[in-house]
């Protein structure tokens, strides 16, 4: 049996949640609504995040283009993905929504541009 503590982000209330995991049995205390329970369960079973960053641009009006993953990825993959993003350079022009890195680290998420960058 193990316990985890979180602050709920469902609303400004910020309930202090305690999650107890006992095999397949997950129980949440400290929440004042259902959203808190759902959030805490997701956080202990499989925390996911959208990653945002920027990628170097060759020959563009700006030296970098802002990017994000097109869906949630596992939280513990964030730093590995950042390494791949940092080692990537793309050529201008870039259109918003362009896939710059396909299926990054087999997460099934693509890194997509969030801004247009024209040629310099």
């Amino acid at each position: 049996m193990e316990t985890h503590k979180f602050i709920c982000i469902g609303c400004p209330m910020g309930c202090d949640l305690t999650v107890t995991v006992d095999g397949d049995n997950i129980s949440v205390t400290g929440n004042t609504c259902k959203r808190g329970e759902d959030y805490a369960k997701k956080e202990v079973t499989r925390p996911m995040r959208v990653l945002t960053s920027s990628v170097k641009v060759d020959g563009g009006e700006y030296p970098v283009v802002s990017v994000r993953t097109n869906c949630d990825i596992d939280k513990d993959k964030l730093f590995e993905c950042m390494k791949v993003i940092k080692d990537t350079t793309v050529k201008a022009p870039i259109k918003i929504g362009d896939v710059l890195i396909k299926n990054i680290l087999n997460t099934s998420a693509d890194i997509i541009a969030t801004k247009d960058v024209d040629k310099a």
């Binding site: 979180f6 602050i7 982000i9 609303c11 400004p12 209330m13 910020g14 004042t32 995040r49 959208v50 990653l51 945002t52 960053s53 920027s54 170097k56 700006y62 030296p63 970098v64 802002s66 990017v67 994000r68 939280k75 964030l78 730093f79 950042m82 918003i96 969030t114 801004k115 247009d116």
Partner: protein, 419 residues
């Protein structure tokens, strides 16, 4: 006179874009947006994190994506935009003087002006931190621009003073970039940032948030080498003996935003001392007829969605003013903030209104299990229970026309908290 426009919008950030679109859709098409930078979208361009647009588009967008949605709407309508153009002056009779590289200095005669200049960060000079003046001290927004737009690195060991949202967002960004964020230091006993930013930007990366602490010294001759962090008492005075040194090569300041109203003041617009923004009616009109204000120049918002919503209303009202500038006015009542409520926008209400009025306000501290109340004389117009209210989260209440039906002998509407 060089040019004439019905509606001149000062600033091409989220407020300016939304105001332009709604004014156009109300049927007034002779609009110009004047923007000092080389692109539309304002500060959203450097806010590359996600979380924008949940209210407006029902999805989580990044700042540049949110801006692009509104820019597309502006482009679709062929609304004229003057980029790289700085407004120097607005006169009380709505002559806008501006300058750019191609046209030099010129003036525009406007029927209405919508102030959408946004806000800027409180600078280091306003803080009185003792110690040296080395390189490596940035406002959080400057650091954000250098990293996200100019693609630069700013440092490896970071301390952040102030737990405003930009500081929290930068703590995560710098950590993902490989820097070590040693602490976020907050003077107040609570954070001024959104809860989800505390959790997702600090807790996710085990970055300590030191509440009731401040920086009492900056060390370093050429480049910052360390800061001294001290605990503060309930009067926000540093407590002797609590000093701790944090080695760092960079200090970010995220200590508040100030509406940018130099132009408004020149035009003679009255400013509210609490918000730092213009005093406005429910139409977002200032004391100068035909001059409107919305977005962060009016009061600092925490969500861009609410900026867009407010600016959309202001833009529409500007268009209605162009159509019918001598509309009949009813009685004016003053909206007051009392007992735990720090301010309310709008400041006055003309009782002769048609559409529901949104009262936007902030409280002055964290309160649990309170009622937020709107009263008129001894009549209670609205009473709503809240589990929690916090200074970092703007509150909204809707005032309906029928609520003010017997306002004949009333001069004030009061928004307050009841414990």
């Amino acid at each position: 006179m060089d040019k004439e426009f019905d509606i001149v919008i000062i600033g091409g950030g989220p407020a300016g874009l939304a105001a332009a679109v709604s004014a156009y859709d109300e049927g007034e098409k002779n609009i110009v947006i004047i923007e000092r930078s080389e692109q539309l979208g304002g500060i959203l361009n450097q806010c590359i994190h996600n979380g924008f647009g949940l209210h407006t588009f029902k999805e989580e967008l990044t700042g540049p994506e949110y801006a692009a949605r509104f820019e597309d709407e502006v482009k679709k309508r062929n609304i004229e935009c003057l980029l790289n153009t700085m407004v120097l002056d607005i006169s009380s009779d709505k002559i806008v003087t501006a300058i750019n590289k191609d046209d030099g200095m010129f003036s525009i005669k406007a029927k209405t002006v919508v102030l959408c200049m946004g806000c800027r960060e409180r600078p280091r000079g306003a803080l009185n931190i003792p110690g040296a003046r080395p390189a490596g001290v940035y406002s959080a927004g400057t650091a954000q621009k250098l990293i996200n737009i100019s693609g630069m690195k700013i440092g490896k060991e970071i301390v952040i003073l102030g737990s405003g949202d930009i500081g929290l967002i930068m703590a995560r960004r710098l950590t993902l970039e490989g820097a070590k964020v040693k602490a976020v230091v907050e003077l107040m006993p609570y954070s001024g940032g959104l809860k989800r930013n505390i959790v997702q930007c600090l807790d996710d990366y085990s970055i300590p948030l030191l509440l009731s602490h401040t920086i009492t010294k900056i060390n370093g001759k050429h480049r910052i080498k360390s800061v001294i962090v001290s605990e503060v008492d309930e009067n926000r005075r540093p407590i002797k003996g609590t000093e701790t040194e944090y080695k760092c090569d960079t200090l970010l300041l995220s200590v508040g935003l100030l509406p940018e109203n130099e132009l408004s003041k020149k035009a003679g617009v009255n400013i509210n001392n609490v918000t730092g923004g213009p005093v406005v009616t429910q139409d977002f009109e200032t004391n100068i007829e035909g001059v409107f204000a919305c977005g962060n120049v009016l009061h600092v918002h925490d969500l861009v969605d609410f900026v867009s919503e407010e600016a959309s209303d202001a833009g529409k009202n500007a268009a209605l003013y162009v159509k019918n500038s001598d509309k009949k006015k009813g009685k004016t009542v003053i909206v007051k903030a009392e007992n735990g409520v720090r301010y309310v926008v709008p400041n006055t209400i003309d009782t002769n209104f048609e559409e529901d009025i949104k009262l936007r306000f902030r409280v002055d501290n964290i309160y649990k299990n309170v009622y937020i109340k709107v009263t008129m004389g001894d009549k209670e117009l609205i009473k709503r229970k809240k589990m929690i209210v916090a200074p970092g989260e703007m509150e909204t209440l809707v005032l309906k026309k029928e609520m003010l039906s017997d306002s004949d002998n009333i001069d004030n509407i009061i928004v307050s908290l009841e414990r």
